[in-house]
């Protein structure tokens, strides 16, 4: 009985944060802010459902299930890469170097540091 309530609680918390994630996708008003919403859904949203699933396997199927831990691990490894790629696309298409706070140590961020820029700066005088 108590374990049922616990499982339901974890799944409900997961669902709630999943909802907040998708609601944020609708409500926030600029592209970079919108990207924050999916990272929320993958962390606590999926985490809550997975903990519920592990508890269920332990209480009803009588074995400890470890696949959920692996899902968490793979999500933690892959989600930042996706977010980073989306951010790079945004920076590439919708910002100019002047829009961002410049890196203090050098002149450009990696996405703006394009090869054609180098080519023109290295060979300013061409026939």
């Amino acid at each position: 009985m108590i374990i049922d309530i616990l499982i339901a609680g974890f799944v409900a918390v997961g669902g709630l944060f999943g909802f907040v994630g998708s609601f944020g996708l609708l409500k926030l008003n600029d592209p970079m802010s919108r990207m924050h919403a999916p990272t929320k859904a993958t962390t606590l949203g999926v985490g809550g459902v997975l903990i519920g699933s592990m508890l269920h396997a332990w209480a009803y199927e009588g074995h400890i299930s470890a696949h959920e831990l692996l899902i968490t691990l793979f999500l933690l490894v892959t989600a930042p890469v996706t977010a980073n790629f989306l951010a790079k696309v945004f920076i590439n298409q919708q910002t100019k170097p002047d829009d961002l706070p410049g890196p203090s140590a050098c002149s450009l961020w990696a996405t703006h540091d394009k090869p054609e820029h180098h080519r023109t700066s290295e060979q300013p005088t061409d026939t």
Binding site: S33, L44, G47, K88, P101
Partner: protein, 165 residues
């Protein structure tokens, strides 16, 4: 010692692969332990030429406390961000770009810092400077950008610096 180095180039990677194999099988048995260990021995030896400058972890045990800290921060920050998304009108929200100058130079450590920043909600790693000296981070709501920069530097980067040395 040289022989051991040759067959066990990265003991931590071997351990990790064995554990992941056991988790994939999802049921502990001697059979899968041996096979997992076999894979753990084989894969690092085969992939060694493709990854010549593997970082040596100075304090691998600190990774455990670092992971726990990040998990705790994810939970706390999730609640904060949920409150911002649900209750704060867009006109009051202050999204901002923050630049984080880096003290760490190991690519693996920088990748881990970037991943940590993205996974703790409210901040998102967007780019790295061309020379790899600073990270560009986007904040969902940042009334004080200096505070966020200092927090990331003291809370995460200092610990990663200790781990990777």
């Amino acid at each position: 010692m040289k022989l051991l180095n040759r067959f066990l180039p990265h003991p931590l990677l071997t351990l990790m692969l064995t554990v992941i194999w056991l988790l994939l099988v999802n049921r502990f048995s001697l059979n899968s332990l041996v096979f997992g260990f076999f894979l753990g021995l084989l894969i690092p030896v085969i992939t060694q030429p493709y990854w010549p400058n593997r970082p040596k972890l100075k304090k691998p045990l600190k990774l455990i406390s670092y992971t726990l800290l990040v998990f705790w921060d994810i939970i706390v920050a999730n609640v904060t961000v949920a409150r911002i998304v649900l209750f704060m009108p867009n006109s009051k929200r202050r999204p901002a770009w923050v630049e984080i100058p880096l003290d760490i130079r190991t690519p693996e450590a920088i990748a881990m810092l970037g991943g940590t920043i993205t996974m703790t909600p409210g901040t998102l790693t967007a780019d790295i400077s061309a020379q790899g000296r600073s990270l560009l981070v986007h904040c969902l709501h940042a009334p004080d950008t200096d505070e966020i920069r200092d927090e990331i530097k003291t809370r995460y980067e200092a610990r990663l610096k200790e781990i990777f040395g």
